[in-house]
């Protein structure tokens, strides 16, 4: 196991299944233990009930069918997180300013935006984050056509949405643009 120091990409071969199941059970156990530690403190981690819960969580992840793998690209996550923190703070600042301004400077309107993100986690994340960006609220999704409510119809909402879509696309490995896997994050 000399090459164990470099993280090997998950293999899709049948032989790798058993190992990935074991790894998933271990990850579940670690997550359950972490959660228990956060909620109840380190002393409670050695209680019989805690150990039982952690083991049962791991066993459950072995018995239940695996969900679809989440094709995250870890290298793009800090960028997405930073972008989210910055723009959601600006979003709160913006709406607080408008709400406290005596003139109430809002020009609400609806607009539509066609997204190219894949259905599933990327699109769900996109719609969730849109509601926290400055001045936008996701209202309705029909196919890939998103209806938004905006607080200020003069703002450059379309540009902000395209930036967010680009960030989310960089954080997920989309099976449709596999060629972009190696160099897609450089923008």
């Amino acid at each position: 196991m000399a090459r164990a120091s470099t993280p090997t990409p998950a293999r899709r071969t049948f032989a790798g299944r058993g190992r990935s199941r074991a790894r998933r059970a271990l990850a579940t156990a670690v997550a359950a233990a972490l959660l228990w530690w956060i909620l109840a403190g380190s002393a409670a981690l050695l209680e019989p009930l805690a150990l039982l819960a952690i083991v049962l969580a791991a066993v459950a992840s072995l018995l239940l069918p695996a969900g679809r793998p989440l094709p995250l690209r870890p290298s793009a996550l800090p960028g997405l997180l930073g972008f989210f923190l910055r723009s959601s703070f600006l979003g709160g600042l913006d709406v607080a300013r408008r709400a406290l301004d005596p003139r109430l400077p809002i020009q609400p309107d609806f607009l539509t935006y066609r997204t190219e993100l894949a259905h599933g986690p990327p699109l769900t994340l996109f719609m969730a984050v849109v509601s926290l960006l400055p001045g936008t609220l996701s209202v309705r999704l029909e196919g890939r056509l998103l209806t938004l409510h905006v607080l200020d119809c003069d703002a450059d909402t379309h540009g902000a949405l395209m930036t967010l879509e680009q960030r989310i696309r960089a954080a997920f490995r989309d099976p449709r643009d596999r060629h972009a896997d190696d160099n897609g994050a450089t923008s």
Binding site: I38, S88, F89, G91, D94, V95, L104, R140
Partner: protein, 98 residues
């Protein structure tokens, strides 16, 4: 001492955002605009309160617990905002203002 000062400042700043969110809830004209005020201002408000309380935490578990609270409220808030907006879109406003 510095930690306490930071806590007071951050929590007070967070409360300003909560107050602004409530002001928006009362002053904005329709359901959609009010959702903007609620979700975004309360997200920042709670974020600042949580950040302030982190300086009073007795250990890493407390800090992570506060972070977990913020993330869960954030997820619940943005999901609820979207669902209320979607319901309003399909069924109209819940009640007339007057």
């Amino acid at each position: 001492m510095i930690a306490n000062t930071l806590t007071v400042l951050l929590v007070l700043a967070g409360l300003v955002f909560f107050a602004a969110g409530t002001a928006g809830l009362l002053r904005f004209p329709d359901v959609y605009s009010r959702l903007h005020a609620l979700t975004k201002a309360d997200n920042v408000g709670l974020g600042l309160v949580v950040l302030g309380l982190m300086f009073q935490a007795s250990g890493p578990a407390d800090i992570l617990k506060l972070l977990l609270i913020w993330v869960l409220v954030l997820a619940a808030g943005t999901t609820a905002a979207h669902m209320v907006a979607q319901r309003t879109w399909t069924h109209g406003e819940f009640e007339s203002d007057r």
